[in-house]
Amino acid sequence: MWKIVIKLIAIILVVLLSACADPKTLERMGLVTTVGYDVTEDGEVLATMVLLHIDPEAPQNSAILTAKASTSKGARIKADLKSPKKLQSGQLRVALLSEEVVKLGLINLADTLARDPSISDLTYLAVVEGSANSLINQKNTHFTDISQLIYKELDQNIKGETIPSSTLQETMHDYYADGIDPVLPTIKGGNGEIKITGMALMNTDRMVGKINSTEAFFLKLINDRYEAGSVELIISKDGFTIVNQAQSPRELAVVIDTINSKSDIKLKSKENLEFTLKIKLKTRLLEINQTLDIKNPNNLKLLEEKLAEKIKTDVEALIAKAQEAGSDPFGFGEVYRKSVRKSNLTTEKWHKMYPESKVNVDIDFEILRTGVVE
């Protein structure tokens, strides 16, 4: 009996004396949903934070705070001085980095974000063309909450397979993995809207070049990690029998949607550093800008051939562009590393070897469906 009483007292004491954990009650926290980093002329970090403003009477449900300090966390401490609620980054959805910041190297900032356990690994990273501060502060009439706009725009396009995903986790993985470089989407503000312009090519953590959104599609095609979406391709109309030949535009624009794509990179020869890239594409035709008789199998075959040729040249161009910039977002280095025994490949080594490598592209293109008009 006494044993039970003593146990009970001990439990009660443990509960009462240990007190509660440090509470973070929802309505007393200033929830940062988007943060933008710029670099100032004197080398400091300018952090712009969008807070979720929870107040039923307030006209706008977001507020913007700006602070300058040597580190990103230092900027948050300074921003706290301006805020009625304690700033917390647990609800962070997007981190924007200005082009200048990324050109200097993003790993310090990304590492800080990844180190904070309350920040989700699925936070999106994006590069801003121009200043992140002015992008966040720009006047827009369509949306009350700019952070929601940026987040939903990125989320929609990534989930809709338009651009490669660039979450904090993926960026950190690509950074630390030897033989692959991260890519981040680039966005641009202006005229009250925010536009995804393409992707930023990186060399380890420094931005070295840009590709546009069509090239981003081919990047997704090569990177087996993603499913590619739909794309508009322009090919010459030589060889096709087209009705109303005279009035039609000079080139044939075709929109295809990939149903199924598979890419396979193999190291052909390790001495010459030669890769074969095999892409298998099963697509459906969405639109052609001219009246082409696709019921004719010859036409369809020609179309397939021409599109395959077009994709091949585009992919080759993209690879050449990336090689020139010194960035390997495709992961050729990873293939090299796993194919060559005792390669001891490091990121630096690979970046030296990479521009000399040769890639043979092989496209297996097929149009499965041409629509229900038939």
Binding site: A21, P23, K24, L26, L52, P56, Q88, Q91, S120
Partner: protein, 503 residues
């Protein structure tokens, strides 16, 4: 040590009393009448009827059937000198006996017998002509269901046993009867199927019931607390039912049932935790539907226990896990509430409990008004006054609703109470606290036994064959094995191949 000594003392004193009380019945009529009057303290309903030929009838007015007294006893007693043995032969009642001791005489009289004393003989003849006062059989109120038999046990032990005997026309149904309670002497019966039930387990139950030394057993719900493995535990370890079909299904699975005179509920043991979430209707409906219903009940139990606590933990400590679309509505309704989430949740939970308790104790007509006033008026006003957030109202209402889906009332009560410590833990330490609470509950459950068998079977220890009829129910052909829980002597209910021939 302290307890043991006391027990031994009381046992001794009891034995001495028994020896003193075993007095013979006096041969002299006058002495016998006086003795009986003394024993019953001149009770007003003690009726003593002298017949001219030295026969005396003693009975309690309130217990016997007058019609039987006249037709079957008085009409059969002949005038002239008679002996007890002659009376024994003459009386037309089936339950007649001769007793030499006065204690036995008093006992039978209290159970509705008439005592017939013949002067000059140191013994009495007792004939049972007691009335069976009970209400007629009704529909089960607490375990009502759409399909299946619509009959419930009532307060009479004899009727209840007869109900079971009618379902199981089988000589193997064993009935052992005891009388319990120093003051009440209530009749208690153990029923089990010989050849299926494990003898060792029957012995264990028999020992437990025999060893009970209590003043009174008024209902099976008090008896069950005495014979359970762990009376301190919050979870009941033995199931009770008011449905004869359910009691029979237990018997057929090799379990034992305990019936108590004067109580509607019948105790079944050994039981598993999962059986508290099963209902007889699961057997009546198709297996897909039964599986769905069972999974839903388990889900609703989890919702009912943890939903409010998760709300409190998320709002107090873990704002990260709230989906972004929910942040604004949640934050807006919370921003007007003056209390921290834990106080808010406890207040509202207490309110719901008040409503439920008030509703349960009130007559049905008033109860409905209560529900409307409490649920709708107070609920809406509380939100409008900024007393609670409307999302919490939804959560509390859902978890209250979910706790009603548990088919067993006892388990429903446990779930209802368990919420409070978990809310407090969540309010103090967030999800860490919640996890501590959950682990504590799980360990507690794993440690429980029901009549010496593991309570969390068939999950711990894992008995995969019994999973077929646990939180899921496979088609009837697959459930041909009796659950191992009761250690049935005969594992097979039937052989699948033989019974699957459908022509």
């Amino acid at each position: 040590m302290f307890f043991k000594k006391k027990k031994a003392d009381s046992l001794n004193s009891m034995n001495q009393e028994n020896i003193e009380e075993r007095e013979m019945i006096p041969a002299d009529t006058e002495d016998f009448i006086n003795e009986m009057k003394k024993r019953l303290h001149n009770s007003a309903d003690l009726n003593i009827k002298d017949r001219p030929n030295g026969i005396t009838l003693i009975f309690l007015d309130s217990l016997i059937d007058n019609k039987m007294l006249h037709g079957d006893i008085l009409a059969c007693l002949h005038d002239g000198k008679v002996s007890p043995d002659q009376i024994l032969k003459d009386i037309n009642v089936s339950n007649v006996a001769k007793y030499p001791f006065i204690v036995e005489a008093v006992d039978t009289m209290l159970k509705g017998a008439v005592l017939i004393h013949t002067s000059g003989h140191p013994c009495i003849v007792s004939a049972s002509i007691g009335t069976q006062e009970h209400r007629s059989l009704t529909r089960p109120e607490n375990e009502s269901q759409v399909l299946g038999p619509q009959i419930a046990f009532n307060e009479s032990l004899a009727t209840n046993i007869s109900l079971i005997r009618r379902y199981l026309t089988n000589p193997n149904v064993c009935n052992e009867s005891f009388s319990l309670g120093k003051q009440t002497n209530s009749g208690v019966s153990i029923l089990y199927m010989k050849g299926i039930a494990d003898e060792e387990m029957v012995d264990r139950l028999r020992e437990r019931i025999k060893n009970i030394k209590v003043d009174s057993v008024l209902d099976s719900s008090t008896l069950v607390q005495l014979i359970e493995d762990n009376s301190y535990a919050i979870f009941p370890q033995m199931l009770m039912t008011e449905r004869p079909d359910r009691a029979c299904s237990w018997l057929l699975n090799g379990k034992m049932i305990v019936l108590v005179d004067g109580s509607v509920q019948v105790i079944g043991c050994p039981q598993t935790f999962i059986e508290f979430f099963q209902s007889m209707e699961d057997e009546s409906v198709r297996w897909q539907i039964a599986t769905f219903l069972r999974l839903m009940r388990i889900f609703s139990m989890i919702v009912s226990i943890f939903f409010t606590a998760i709300y409190v933990a998320a709002l107090t400590f873990h704002y990260e896990i709230i989906p972004q679309t929910l942040l604004v509505p949640l934050g807006e309704s919370r921003s007007r509430v003056p209390f921290p989430p834990i106080i808010e949740a406890l207040l509202l939970e207490a309110m719901i409990e008040l409503l439920r308790e008030a509703g349960a104790r009130l007559p049905t007509k008033v109860g409905q008004t209560m529900g409307i006033v409490g649920g709708i008026v107070v609920g809406t006003a509380a939100v409008e006054a900024g007393f609670t957030s409307n999302i919490l109202i939804i959560i509390i209402a859902v978890s209250a609703l979910a706790s009603f889906t548990t088919p067993n009332y006892m388990m429903g009560n446990v779930i209802r109470v368990l919420r409070f410590p978990l809310i407090i833990l969540a309010g103090l330490w967030g999800f860490y606290g919640l996890m501590i609470g959950f682990c504590f509950l799980l360990i507690h459950l794993i440690r429980q036994t029901s009549l010496g068998t593991p309570f969390l079977a068939p999950f711990y220890p894992p008995r995969f064959a019994d999973w077929r009829d646990s939180i899921i129910r496979l088609p009837i052909g697959f459930t041909n094995l009796r659950p191992l829980q009761a250690r049935p002597k005969d594992r097979f209910k039937y052989r699948i191949r033989k019974s699957n021939k459908k022509e």
